[in-house]
């Protein structure tokens, strides 16, 4: 067994070293900087000033809390809509119909598209001179571009939500398709033979069966959309601003003192995501115990 132990340690060290130094090291150093520890500009004292400044100072408080609200709104709505859309798509595409394969392919097409490209695509489709605005003008629905609602670069984050729904619906879709495939239709047939109608079969048979996967996928999607930079950077506005964009703005500010605020923001984002994941594990664990 001694040889095995050495083998285990030697095999696991390189990837753990990479993740340990780069990932955890980066977080640790970011945390230290958020506490004001910046040896490069001669600051060695530790305090929570940056956190206080970002959250409560007159200058930034409004920006921060509106940003946090936008973050929560965008992440919740886009996760929920993507999940619902994918569930509906997956349940429908299971059945047979004309051009099913093509539809199936299109529903998973957005999966490998980088978020960056999806965000650009939203501008092309939903902006006031985009594809949809042109279409509605052609059919006489609107007369000029300004009559088309502002859906990208809007202060409610609609464009950002659209981009995330586009992208993550494909992700949910793939996961749901494989769950539904592995379940087969036996449960539903059984429920039907016992007299369950369509809604009951969905509510009491399918939904509980796909819920665990749907829920864990939702956590991944929520956590991602909460902390990602590209989509809000392209489709967002200056106020309100999503937190990751705000963090990078602070960080890239020529004033080196603003760095601590940027780090503090990124730590706040990470902490919220972490709390969420812990709640998720706690929920699933307690559910397993109950079962």
């Amino acid at each position: 067994m001694g040889g095995d132990k050495l083998k285990i340690v030697l095999s696991l060290t390189p990837p753990l070293l990479i993740i340990g130094t780069l990932f955890f090291g980066g977080i640790l150093y970011g945390f230290l900087q958020s506490l004001g520890y910046q040896p490069s500009i001669g600051k060695y004292d530790i305090n929570f000033d940056a956190y206080y400044n970002v959250m409560f100072s007159e200058r930034y408080a409004k920006l921060f809390w509106s940003g946090l609200a936008l973050n929560l709104w965008v992440s919740f709505v886009s996760t929920f809509l993507a999940a619902v859309l994918a569930l509906w798509g997956a349940l429908s595409i299971r059945k047979t119909f004309f051009a099913k394969k093509i539809c199936n392919f299109i529903f998973s097409l957005n999966l490998p598209m980088p978020h960056l490209v999806v965000a650009v695509g939203m501008i092309f489709v939903f902006s006031q001179s985009g594809l949809l605005a042109r279409f509605f003008t052609q059919i006489g629905f609107i007369a000029s571009p300004s009559e088309f609602p502002i859906l990208v670069k809007d202060k409610y984050g609609f464009g950002i939500i659209l981009a995330y729904v586009w992208k993550e619906a494909a992700f949910f879709f793939i996961i749901l398709m494989s769950v539904l495939q592995s379940l087969g239709e036996n449960f539903e047939e059984l429920a039907q033979s016992l007299g369950a109608n369509k809604w009951q079969r969905f509510r009491y048979v399918i939904l509980p069966l796909v819920m665990p996967n749907l829920f864990s996928a939702s956590i991944i999607v929520f956590a991602f959309s909460f902390g990602a930079y590209e989509v809000p950077a392209i489709l967002g506005v200056n106020y309100p601003q999503m937190l990751p964009v705000m963090a990078l703005d602070f960080f890239l500010n020529p004033d080196l003192n603003a760095r601590s605020e940027g780090m503090a923001l990124s730590m706040i984002i990470a902490m919220i995501v972490m709390i969420l994941v812990v709640i998720y594990f706690w929920l699933t664990q307690s559910k397993i115990r109950k079962d």
Binding site: K7, L12, P14, P15, L16, I18, I19, L22, F23, G25, G26, I27, Y29, G89, S92, I93, K95, F97, A99, C103, I106, S108, L109, L111, P112, M113, P114, H115, L116, V117, A119, G121, M122, F124, S129, G130, L131, A133, W166, K167, F171, I174, I175, S178, S182, E185, E189, N213, I220, V221, A223, G227, E230, I234, L248, M263, S266, I269, A270, V273
Partner: protein, 287 residues
């Protein structure tokens, strides 16, 4: 059970598919249009102008093999970015596979103390957003001299890639029977021969999928390259972002098409392996 979809649902699915494909359609129209004025739905004239301005395709009259070679050898920004993206992607993919191979084998085949903790540490970069570690790392890299270098960018790309490669390959080794290796060894094959003749063929299909995903994740990194490359390492996503911000739709569309081309090719090749149970799928969600 009724296996046919209701008419209304079929139309809804068709409509959904059309809506989902709209961005792609818009990319193609924009990339091959010239003076596509509002409210034209289809441009009056098709044009390669964007591609010529991008310096990916030579001007009219120069579109021979020599013309292409001359243009590409003049090293325009798009070719530079393409070369950078491919080089970094390939290096990172190879390194991540080499590093992950022994670790995945141990994790897949053996049971030991702290295994769960180690797996948790390995997958933690997939949960927390990249902005949480890259800001701190950026400053470290400046002091270590990695900032603005190819190696720095390669190194930082390993962070989001490592978890997927290790997880995907751990899955392969969990269904792998090492007894065949023992048989080969007792029949006189040495370690290297055994690896080439027994281990590699067994894990190759899964390894290819892991490699393709690793490449794709590296290919689509924006934030990490931007912060660690410090403006000196330009990859395709950086070019897409810069062009998108400058507001030239045909040019943005053309670069975007170049950028998504490998993604779609990889989807074709791996669609068989992409399922909800594969850890690689969650990698797709993040690119």
């Amino acid at each position: 059970m009724d296996n046919n979809l209701k008419k209304v649902n079929i139309y809804a699915i068709y409509l959904g598919s059309i809506i989902l494909i709209l961005p792609l359609v818009a990319f193609f129209i924009n990339a091959f249009s010239f003076r596509w004025f509002y409210p034209q739905l289809i441009p009056n004239e098709l044009s390669m102008q964007a591609w010529v301005r991008l310096k990916l395709i030579p001007k009219e009259g120069f579109r021979s093999l020599d013309g292409f070679i001359d243009l590409w050898l003049s090293n325009p920004a798009i070719i530079k970015a393409l070369v950078n993206s491919v080089t970094i992607g390939v290096i990172v993919t190879i390194v991540s596979i080499i590093i992950a191979l022994p670790a995945a084998r141990v994790l897949g085949l053996l049971n030991f103390r702290f295994k769960k903790l180690i797996i948790f540490i390995m997958i933690s970069p997939t949960i927390l957003p990249p902005i949480a570690f890259v800001l701190g790392l950026n400053i470290n890299f400046i002091s270590w001299g990695f900032s603005g270098s190819y190696w720095g960018v390669c190194l930082v790309h390993l962070v989001p890639i490592m978890p997927y490669v290790v997880l995907t390959m751990t899955g392969i080794f969990a269904n792998y029977n090492p007894d065949f290796e023992h048989q080969a060894r007792t029949l006189g094959a040495n370690k290297i021969r055994t690896f080439y003749l027994i281990t590699l063929p067994a894990i190759a299909p899964g390894m290819v999928v892991a490699a393709l995903f690793a490449f794709l994740v590296s290919w689509s990194q924006y934030l990490l390259t931007f912060l660690i490359g410090a403006g000196k390492v330009t990859t395709l996503p950086l070019l897409v972002f810069a062009t998108a911000s400058s507001g030239n739709p045909p040019l943005t569309a053309a670069i975007s098409l170049v950028f998504i081309f490998p993604a779609i090719v990889i989807l074709f090749f791996t669609s068989k392996f992409v399922s909800g149970n594969s850890s690689a799928t969650s990698g797709f969600g993040k690119i």
